[in-house]
Amino acid sequence: MAPVAPRSGDAIFANIEHVNCSWTVQNAELFTLTYGAIVRQLLTDLEEVDEVNKQLDQMGYNIGIRLIDEFLAKSNVSSCVDFRETAEVIAKVGLKMFIGVTASVTNWNAEGTCCSIVLEDNPLVDFVELPDTYQGLHYCNILSGVIRGALDMVSMKAEVTWLRDALRGDDVFELQVKLLKQVPEEYPYKDDE
């Protein structure tokens, strides 16, 4: 049943996301608990921690490709000029809008293609403790998938990985977002058709 679970998980998640951005605090707990249930179920179904990480990332990707339109429609931001602006918008507007956290952007590399987004608090991990047997689990991997999916839909191929994870003993959550390339829009039809 494993292929079916992520699809319905996506559906629930999309609805919860909607609920969470309109009514803030009361439903944050529902959100957290539902997410915890999804991860728990994935662990039971798939057993391998790496598989669960991959599945969470894939679910996040499926959410991200839809979430980008909602984000663009509601937040009314215009196209970002470069990746620096994009990262700022993700941290300050996007994360705030959907999970209510204000993140900060740090650690820019020399070319401006790689940065870290630091989340001080994270509603997904309220009430969560990671047991020793699951130390390899990236509990919030859905977030990395969402960012990757959303960036994909605005022509930026990116790689998103976790550098620091508060569930594993670090003090904050740190995501590294690396821009691989920007894909310009190509004319999709062949000329002879």
Binding site: D10, A11, A14, N15, H18, C21, S22, W23, I65, R66, I68, D69, E70, L72, A73, K74, S75, N76, S78, S79, C80, V81, M153, V154, S155, Q182, P184, E185, E186, Y187, P188, Y189, E193
Partner: protein, 169 residues
């Protein structure tokens, strides 16, 4: 529309008037050129079949976007015509008008293009197009049964859209 009530950043729609049927056609394309939606309210003359019509419309807008960006007198960079554009660069055009119709265009950074063809005396429809984009998000993107990139088959979306376009002055 209660789902817009909570957020102060979505545009409020222009107040609907009772002037009736001003919209002629509406197209919605995604970034791969797939026509997600085509609605027709008032189109007496059909010259091409649907497929060709969609391709023509998409091609027209793609070229126009490219052309307007390259001819921008205020931009410093001058690439060659026909070089694919990165989104966010260059200016974006939003409408053109002929003696018989006006075509209004909006493109989101995610590549969703909304085209509305109306009668020539219509004013600036940018806010209306943004509102239609919001409708798209609410009724189509948030529908768990909808696969992105496939044609839209949602009665509710079609009805709401018809109602809204009928009210555009």
């Amino acid at each position: 529309m209660q789902f817009f009530g909570g957020s102060e950043i979505s545009p409020s729609p222009p107040a609907p008037t009772a002037s009736g049927n001003n919209g002629h056609m509406l197209y919605v394309f995604n970034r791969n050129g797939i026509c997600l939606l085509y609605r027709e309210w008032n189109r007496p003359l059909h010259t091409l079949n649907a497929q060709q019509d969609h391709k023509l419309m998409f091609g027209l807008l793609f070229s126009l976007k490219s052309l307007t960006a390259k001819m921008d007198p205020t931009s410093a960079e001058k690439g060659n015509l026909g070089v694919p554009q990165l989104p966010g660069q260059g200016c974006s055009f939003h409408s053109f008008r002929t003696n018989t119709y006006k075509l209004s265009f909006m493109e989101s950074p995610s590549g969703i293009k909304i085209i509305l063809v109306t009668h020539p005396r219509t004013g600036d429809l940018r806010d209306s197009l943004k509102y239609i984009y919001n409708l798209y998000v609410e009724y189509v993107v948030k529908n768990p049964l909808y696969t992105p990139g496939s044609p839209i088959r949602s009665e509710l979306f079609n009805t709401t859209l018809d109602q809204y376009v009928r009210g555009i002055a």
